[in-house]
């Protein structure tokens, strides 16, 4: 199973959501982060996967398979208020912050035993920033229509 990346990675460099992900990725304990839905990474940080901590590569295959199952659950329950999910796998934890009533989530891979509470605060800030950007983009789209 392959995770597709929607759109051109070069174009993501100008994406305001990628800038939010860049900020998140600078935190020591965020090894990788993205906006994704089932089988699809919607937005990556500006440097694409090059910005990810290389140690993630060793477990990426198994993590993204597990992610896909989590996205099944998100798809099923996001309309009924599912807001966050997470799982631990080997030495890593994967956090999913679901965008309100959508199948999309902000996803971050962090090491097990990291100070998750502090990371969660910044995950929430990033989710809010991205949600604002999405709302703005939606307003522009509706205005054009």
């Amino acid at each position: 199973m392959e995770y597709k990346i929607s759109g051109d990675v070069d174009r993501m460099k100008d994406d305001p959501i990628a800038k939010v992900l860049d900020d998140l990725l600078k935190l020591d304990d965020i090894l990788a982060c993205m906006v994704a839905r089932q089988n699809m990474i919607s937005v990556m940080p500006s440097d694409g996967t090059d910005g990810f901590n290389p140690e993630v590569n060793q477990v990426w295959d198994i993590i993204h398979r597990a992610m896909d199952d989590v996205f099944n659950v998100i798809h099923e329950y996001s309309q009924t208020g599912l807001a966050e999910m997470e799982f631990s796998l080997q030495d890593y934890e994967v956090l999913f912050y679901v965008f309100h009533e959508t199948d999309n989530a902000l996803v971050a891979i962090i090491p097990a035993l990291s100070n998750k509470g502090l990371i969660e605060v910044e995950m929430e800030n990033a989710r809010r920033e991205i949600q604002d950007i999405l709302n703005e983009q939606e307003q522009i789209r509706l205005a054009v229509v």
Binding site: D23, K26, L27, D28, E84, A112, L113, N115, K116, G117, L118, I119, E120, V121, E122, M123, E124, N125, R128
Partner: protein, 430 residues
Amino acid sequence: MDKNIDAAVGMTRKWDAREAGREVARDAIKQLKSPPNFFVLFSTIHYKEHGGFEEFLNGVWDVLPKRTPLVGGTVAGFMNNFGSFTRGATALAISDTNIDIFIGSGKNSKRSPKRAARKCADTIKNGFKKSGYRNKFVLNLVSGPETMKIPGQGYKKVVDSGFMSRFVSLAFGMSQYLIQKGPGREDELFEEIVKELPDCKMMLGTTMDDYKWIDNYQFLNDQVLTNSVLSVGLATDYKFDVCTTHGMRETDIKFKITKLSRDGHIIQKINNKPALHELQRLLNWPDGFINEKTMAHTILYYPISLKRHGRQVPAVMPTFLKDSILTPCIVDTGDVSILTVSGKNLVQAVRDNLSYFKNIEPEFGLFSSCMTILQTLGNNINIVHQEISNYFKEKPFVMFFCAGEGTYSPENKITYANMSFNTTIFGYQN
């Protein structure tokens, strides 16, 4: 007196230290009607790796008018009118001719906390003598705990090797004296400052890093300090008060501390049995249940009610040696209860805290809160933010998250606790 204290909150989320310093100062100052006469600055530890704290302060001083008194330090996170954050910096700037400000500082707060406290208190005492204002408040910022690196194991919260545990126990006092690694000793320092300035109301907070307990810094004007205490005395005729609340509830699990280390920081035996084993038995947890992995989800929700000079000191247990429990403050032997805390109780503690100030119409507020609250609530800290925002509305407030906090007032005496919310609100009588 004008009916509005000129105070403002600034914030930055920039990564570069110098740019961040400039932005946080500019953001606060631009909201004031006249230049500030006091500037409190809190930053997360991240600027250490993104230009350094000297550059961060250089950035602040690029903007801040010269000779503005500045104090602050690194914190695990902060909350202000804009939200809750564990990265960035925030400042509270005050511009008001009806407040006199005096700043004291003391070095080697972990080696000689009482001496450092007395040095601070002397400066504040002399300042207050010169002031014509009646009401006196002291904010104490103390270098927080720093964990000792264990040879071959690095920084650990649970040391399960018997040999290493004995080594840590033996090296503990020495490490504190020689290299100033160990508990912040802010509790001892606080007791001493209170002894020197018993008529003032006070708030205490510690400087910290991002919950790693490796290093932390204090800011005094253009200096970046370590292992120091900063005390700020504010004399004014404005109304203010201080209050501490916590959401901890007593359980029916009780035990007796029967053996303590000489310095009162390590619980070696409870009920005459090795402390950690007995603690787990009382909690119905199997031996080995408390480890690096489970700690954040288990023991942080079970603080203990320690005793110090007859006072209750609710504290979390931050470090475990094979058979012993390290406490964040000095404790006495005797009866102890296990407490419990939930997210719901923490939120209620904030409500209870704010309701204490019903006679004050707030103009600005400063809070010191336990970083373990941040660690346990995670993104749900925004529920706390909502409560505080509802109270302050447009008025500025800053909460900083630390490791060892408290308040003192002549009426309520010292309240030093972990997992607590400590509030100072300035304003007018309702």
